[in-house]
Amino acid sequence: MKGKKTDLLQGTLDLLVLKALAPKPLHGLGVSRRVEQITKGTFQVKPGSLFPALYRMEQAGWLASSWGESENNHRAEHYRLTKAGYRHLETETEDWQRTSRAIASVLQAI
C-alpha cells in the first residue's frame, strides 16, 4: 500500500537494508528507494529511521561508507556491505525464514 507508514522492527529494518545493499553500493536516498522498491511499496523507510540504522550497522562492522559521487554529480555518503555484512545477511535470512515457517504452521493449525 503506497504511502502507509508501518512500524518496523529494528531487526527487520536491518535485514531490509542489508538486502538492499547486497547487489551494489548505494547512498542514503538510494537505500530508502530500493527498500520501497523491493517491498513493492509496503515499507517506506524515513530518514529518521534510516540514518540511525545505517550508523549502527556501520559501527557493528556490517557496512562501510565512503564519500562518492552520485548521479547528477552530487556528493553523498555511499554505503556498501562488508564481508561480515554478507555473512550477517545470510544468517539473518535463515533465521527469518525459519521463524516465518514456524509461525505459518502455527497459524494453519488453528
Binding site: 542514503g28 536516498l29 524515513k46 530518514p47 529518521g48 540514518f51 550508523y55 559501527q59 553523498a76
Partner: protein, 878 residues
C-alpha cells in the same frame, strides 16, 4: 613522537563527536538535495519540491536527534565494554592491582588528611560574622622589641574614643568567677567584656541571648553567658539552665545565654560577664592585661586602620610620656591572631606530604611502565584486529580512571579514619581542630588529586603502547619483551627522583629529631619531676593578715601530709599556662632613671618555702624565711638574670630597689640571689624576676607548688582535702602536675616531629620499594646475560658488583640531588628548629649514610637471588 603533539592528537581523537556531527549534517543535506531533484523531475517547482522533500524527510532536526541518540547509545555501550575489560584485566593481575591501589591509597589518603587539617584550620572562614573585618588590637614596645602585648584599660579607653576606622571596639579582661552551689565548688576562668563585644563578633547565642546594652551598666551586670563546653561538662547540657541563677563570687548571677560550640573568643575561657566601665579605667595605663577587638568600618582597609592607630599611639606617647613613650600599636586581623602561629608548620607538613604523594606516583608510574611492556602484545593484537588508536587510548584512560577510583576511594576512606583519629587525640593542640572534617572541599580535593595522579601515572606508559609497531611486536616469540631503552631510562629517572625526595624528607625529620632532643636537654632551672600545682583565688579574703594566716595554715597542713616533701606557693609558677604577667618598673637606689628605659622585672609573691620546693639553687645571700614578717624590714630575693643585668661587676646584696606593688610603693633590700628559671617553655628565655615575701605583700591569686615523694597525681585529692580543712568551700583551678605542664609546652613540636617522621618513613619505604622493583626487574631481564657471565667464569663477587653497582649508582645520584635540594628547602623550616641550624652538616651526612645503606640492602636482595640461578637454566632462558 614528542609528548605535546601526542597529547593534542589524543584529545582530538577522543572527542571526535564534532566531526561525526558534521558528517551527518552533510549527509542529510545530500539526501535532501537528491530528494528535491527527484521531486523536480516529477514536475514540481523548485521551492515546492524542496518543501515537499522536507516534509517527507520528517524534518532535518528530528533526524539528527535520532541519529545522535543512537550514537550516544553506541558510545556508552563501548565505554561499558572498556570498563568491564579494564576490570577484568585488573583482576587478572590482582597482586599488581593491589600494590598500585595500596600505593595510591597511601599517598592520596595522607595528602587528603593533611589538606583537611589545612582546610579546617587555615582556609575555612571563622565562625564569626564577616571575619575579615574583625580586628585584634595590641600594644607594642618600640624600644624593647616586644611585638605584641595586651592593652591597658586607659589606653583602650583613649583608642575607643579616637579610632575612626572601626565602627565598634571592645575589650575583654581576664577574670575569675568562683561558683558555690550544688556539687563541687569550682573556680571558672572567665572574661569580663565591655559593651559591644558580642556584636563585633556577630555570633548569636545558641540558647538564650547575649548581653543587652543596659546590662553593661554598673549595678545591672550580674548576668553571665556560658560557653558550650562548660554548659555540657558542668551543667550536663541542661536546656533549662537559661534563666536560672548561679552563686558566683558570693553574688547571684543569672544565666542569660549559652554560646554555640564554635564560639571561643578570646580562646581559653568559657564564661563571659559584662564589664561596666570603672572609675580607674582612665588611670591604669601602665598595666597591660586586656584583649581588644574591633570591627572595621565597611570600605575601610586594615592598612588604613593600622596607619591611623600608629598616629594615635604617637600622639599618646607625647601626652603620656611616663607610660606611653615607647608604646606603639599593632592591628592583626582575627584570623591571623588565632591561627597565624600554626600556619608555617602546617604548610610545611602539607609540602612534605605532597612530596610523599609524588613518590607514590612515581612508584605507580614505574609499575605501570613495567606492566606496559607485558601488554604490548595484547595491544598489538587488538590493533591488528581493527581497534582504532582512539579506542585503545580510551581503554587506557578508562583503566587509569578505574585505578583512580579504587585508589582514590580507599585513600578517602583512609583519610576519614585518620581525621577521626587526629581530631580525637589532638596531639599538637591545634586551634580550631573541631572544624577539621571530611567535607565537600576535601572530597573535591581528593577527587581531583586521584584523577590527576592516576592519569599522569598511566599516561606516559600508555602513550607508548597505544601506537605499537605491529609487525615488530607480533613477530616476537615467547614472553621476552624488548629491552626498551627509553622505558628503562624513564624508570631509572623515576627511582632517582624518589630517592632524592626521600632524602629531603629524611633530612627534615632528622633536623626535627635533633631539635627535639636539644629541647629536652634544656635545663629549665628547677626540678620538674613529681610536683603538683593548683591555683586558688583568695579574693574573698580581704585583710592581709587573714590572707597570710590562710596561706600559713594551708601550707602547714600540706607539709605535714605524708608523701609531701615540701610545699610553697607563688603568685606565678613557671610553665603555668595562665600566667598573666606584666613587668614592673623598678628604680635602683643610687642610679638615675632615664625616661622610657627604666629597668623592669617581674615581681612574684612567694611563701618562704616556695623557692626551696621549686628546686632553684641559691647563688648568694639567703633565701626568704618565715621570719620575714609584715613588720620586719622589707626584703626581696632576685634571680640571676636581674643580677647580671644591672650588677655585672658589683654585688647586688644589700642594694635597695623601689617599685610599685598592689598600688603601694615599696623599697626593699636585696638579701639573696637565686638561679633563673625558664618562665614558659623549654624554648623560652629567662627573665629578670624579683621575689617578694608573701607576708609583706599578700596577693589574691596564688598557685601552690607541692613537691611530692611519689606520683603527684595520686596526691591530688589529699592535697585538696588538707586545704579544704581551712576553707571547706575552696575552689581550685589550673590543676596539673609539673610534668604535664612541661609536656604541654612541647606538644606541638612533638606533633610536628611525629608527622614529619611518618612522612619521611613512608618516603623511605616507597623509595626502597621502587628501587627494589627496578633492580629486580632489570636483573630478571639480564638473567640470560648473567648465566653467560657465570658460565664464562665470573665470580659471584663480580656479578654482585655488577648488579649492586647499578643500584648504588642510581642511589648516589639520588642522594646527591636530594642533598642539594634539601640545602635549599630546609631553611623554610627555620621556625620549627631549635638548637640546630637548617644546614647542619652532621645531620645531612648521617642521613645520607643511612639512606645509602638501606638502599644498598634493597639492591642486595635481588642480587642474591640472581646469583642462585643455575647457569644452564639461565642460558636457555629466552
Amino acid at each position: 613522537m614528542p609528548l605535546m603533539p601526542r597529547l593534542v592528537s589524543l584529545f582530538r581523537n577522543l572527542f571526535r563527536k564534532d566531526r561525526a556531527e558534521q558528517e551527518l549534517i552533510q549527509e542529510l543535506h545530500a539526501y535532501l538535495e537528491l530528494m528535491t531533484e527527484m521531486k523536480i523531475k516529477e514536475g514540481l517547482k523548485p521551492d515546492e519540491a524542496r518543501r515537499a522533500a522536507l516534509i517527507e524527510m520528517g524534518g532535518v532536526e528530528q533526524v539528527k536527534e535520532r541519529v545522535r541518540e543512537v550514537m550516544i547509545g553506541h558510545y556508552l555501550e563501548t565505554m561499558w565494554q572498556d570498563v568491564r575489560y579494564g576490570l577484568r584485566m585488573l583482576m587478572k593481575k590482582a597482586g599488581f592491582t593491589a600494590t598500585v591501589v595500596a600505593t595510591l591509597a597511601l599517598g592520596i589518603g595522607a595528602t587528603t588528611t593533611i589538606f583537611s587539617i589545612v582546610n579546617g584550620v587555615l582556609l575555612r572562614p571563622l565562625p564569626y560574622k564577616d571575619d575579615a573585618r574583625i580586628l585584634t588590637l595590641w600594644q607594642s614596645r618600640t624600644k624593647s622589641g616586644v611585638q605584641r602585648e595586651d592593652v591597658s584599660p586607659a589606653n583602650f579607653t583613649d583608642w575607643a574614643e579616637r579610632l575612626q576606622s572601626c565602627e565598634a571596639i571592645a575589650m575583654a579582661e581576664p577574670f575569675g568567677h568562683s561558683m558555690i552551689g550544688d556539687g563541687e565548688p569550682e573556680s571558672f576562668r572567665s572574661w569580663v567584656v565591655s559593651s559591644g563585644f558580642f556584636d563585633i563578633l556577630g555570633v548569636p547565642a545558641l540558647h538564650g541571648r547575649t548581653f543587652l546594652p543596659e546590662e553593661y551598666e554598673p549595678g545591672r551586670s550580674q548576668v553571665v553567658v556560658l560557653g558550650y563546653g562548660l554548659w555540657q561538662r558542668r551543667f550536663g547540657g541542661d536546656p533549662n539552665l537559661v534563666g536560672q541563677q548561679l552563686t558566683l563570687n558570693g553574688q547571684p548571677f543569672t544565666v542569660v545565654g549559652v554560646m554555640p560550640p564554635q564560639f571561643q573568643y578570646p580562646p581559653g575561657r568559657e564564661l563571659w560577664a559584662p564589664r561596666p566601665p570603672r572609675e580607674n579605667d582612665r588611670q591604669i595605663r601602665g598595666a597591660t592585661y586586656v584583649k581588644v577587638i574591633g570591627r572595621l568600618k565597611t570600605d575601610h582597609a586594615v592598612e588604613q586602620a593600622q596607619a591611623e592607630i600608629d598616629s594615635i599611639a604617637r600622639q599618646m606617647a607625647q601626652e603620656y610620656p611616663q607610660t606611653n613613650s615607647n608604646v606603639g600599636a599593632l592591628i592583626l586581623p582575627i584570623r591571623e591572631y588565632l591561627v597565624g602561629h600554626v600556619r608555617p608548620a602546617l604548610l610545611i607538613m602539607f609540602g612534605a606530604v605532597c612530596f610523599v604523594l609524588m613518590i607514590a606516583c612515581a612508584n605507580v608510574a614505574s609499575l605501570l611502565l613495567a606492566r606496559a611492556a607485558e601488554r604490548r602484545r595484547e595491544f598489538a593484537i587488538r590493533a591488528a584486529l581493527g581497534a582504532g588508536q582512539r579506542r585503545l587510548l580510551r581503554q587506557l584512560l578508562v583503566e587509569s580512571l578505574l585505578l583512580a577510583s579504587l585508589g582514590g576511594g580507599s585513600g578517602m576512606l583512609l583519610s576519614v579514619l585518620l581525621i577521626e583519629l587526629i581530631v580525637t587525640v589532638n596531639p599538637g593542640n591545634l586551634p580550631h581542630l573541631d572544624r577539621v572534617t571530611f567535607n565537600g572541599s576535601v572530597f573535591v580535593f581528593a577527587g581531583v588529586v586521584s584523577v590527576l595522579t592516576a592519569v599522569i601515572s598511566s599516561l606516559t606508559p600508555g602513550l607508548r603502547i597505544a601506537r605499537p609497531d605491529l609487525q615488530e611486536t607480533l613477530r616476537q616469540e615467547g614472553h621476552t619483551t624488548t629491552f626498551d631503552r627509553g622505558r628503562q631510562r624513564l624508570r631509572k629517572f623515576l627511582v632517582v627522583a624518589e630517592v632524592a625526595i626521600a632524602m629531603v624528607l629524611l633530612v627534615g625529620a632528622g633536623l626535627l629529631v635533633r631539635s627535639f632532643v636539644a629541647l629536652l636537654r634544656v635545663d629549665p632551672g628547677f626540678t620538674t619531676d613529681r610536683a603538683l600545682t593548683l591555683e586558688i583565688q583568695l579574693g574573698r579574703i580581704r585583710a592581709p593578715e587573714q590572707r597570710l594566716a590562710f596561706m600559713e595554715q594551708t601550707l602547714e597542713r600540706l607539709t605535714q601530709l605524708p608523701g609531701v616533701r615540701t610545699a610553697g606557693a607563688a603568685s606565678a609558677v613557671p610553665f603555668h599556662d595562665n600566667q598573666v604577667m606584666i613587668p614592673t618598673a623598678i628604680a635602683i637606689e643610687g642610679r638615675p632613671q632615664t625616661l622610657g628605659q627604666e629597668p623592669a622585672a617581674y615581681v612574684i609573691n612567694v611563701t618562704p618555702d616556695y623557692l626551696g620546693a621549686l628546686g632553684v639553687p641559691l647563688l648568694s645571700g639567703r633565701t626568704l624565711t618565715p621570719f620575714d614578717r609584715p613588720d620586719s624590714s622589707p626584703v626581696v630575693v632576685i634571680n640571676q638574670t636581674l643580677a647580671e643585668l644591672h650588677w655585672q661587676t658589683t654585688d647586688p646584696l644589700g642594694k635597695r630597689i623601689t617599685f610599685q606593688t598592689f598600688g603601694r610603693t615599696v623599697t626593699c633590700e636585696i638579701v639573696g640571689v637565686v638561679g633563673a628559671v625558664l618562665p614558659s617553655g623549654l624554648d623560652s628565655q629567662p627573665r629578670p624576676e624579683v621575689f617578694l615575701p608573701y607576708a609583706q605583700s599578700p596577693a589574691g591569686g596564688m598557685t601552690y607548688f607541692v613537691r611530692t615523694g611519689s606520683d603527684p597525681a595520686n596526691m591530688l585529692e589529699a592535697v585538696k582535702g588538707r586545704i579544704r580543712e581551712v576553707n571547706p568551700n575552696q575552689t581550685f583551678s589550673s590543676i596539673a602536675t609539673v610534668e604535664q605542664m612541661v609536656d604541654r609546652t612541647t606538644s606541638q613540636r612533638r606533633f610536628n616531629l611525629l608527622l614529619l617522621g611518618i612522612f619521611a618513613g613512608l618516603a623511605l619505604v616507597l623509595a626502597c620499594v621502587g628501587l627494589y622493583g627496578l633492580i629486580s626487574f632489570t636483573t630478571a631481564q639480564r638473567t640470560h646475560e648473567i648465566g653467560i657471565r657465570i658460565a664464562l667464569g665470573a665470580e659471584r663477587r663480580d656479578v654482585l658488583k655488577l648488579i649492586i653497582g647499578q643500584g648504588i649508582g642510581l642511589t648516589l645520584i639520588g642522594v646527591a640531588t636530594g642533598v642539594v635540594v634539601a640545602f635549599g628547602l630546609t631553611r623554610l623550616m627555620g621556625s620549627l628548629l631549635f638548637g640546630v641550624s637548617a644546614t647542619d652538616p652532621l645531620t645531612f651526612a648521617l642521613i645520607a649514610l643511612l639512606l645509602t645503606t638501606i638502599a644498598l640492602l634493597a639492591c642486595y636482595i635481588p642480587a642474591r637471588r640472581a646469583l642462585k640461578v643455575d647457569p644452564l637454566v639461565a642460558l636457555r632462558y629466552e
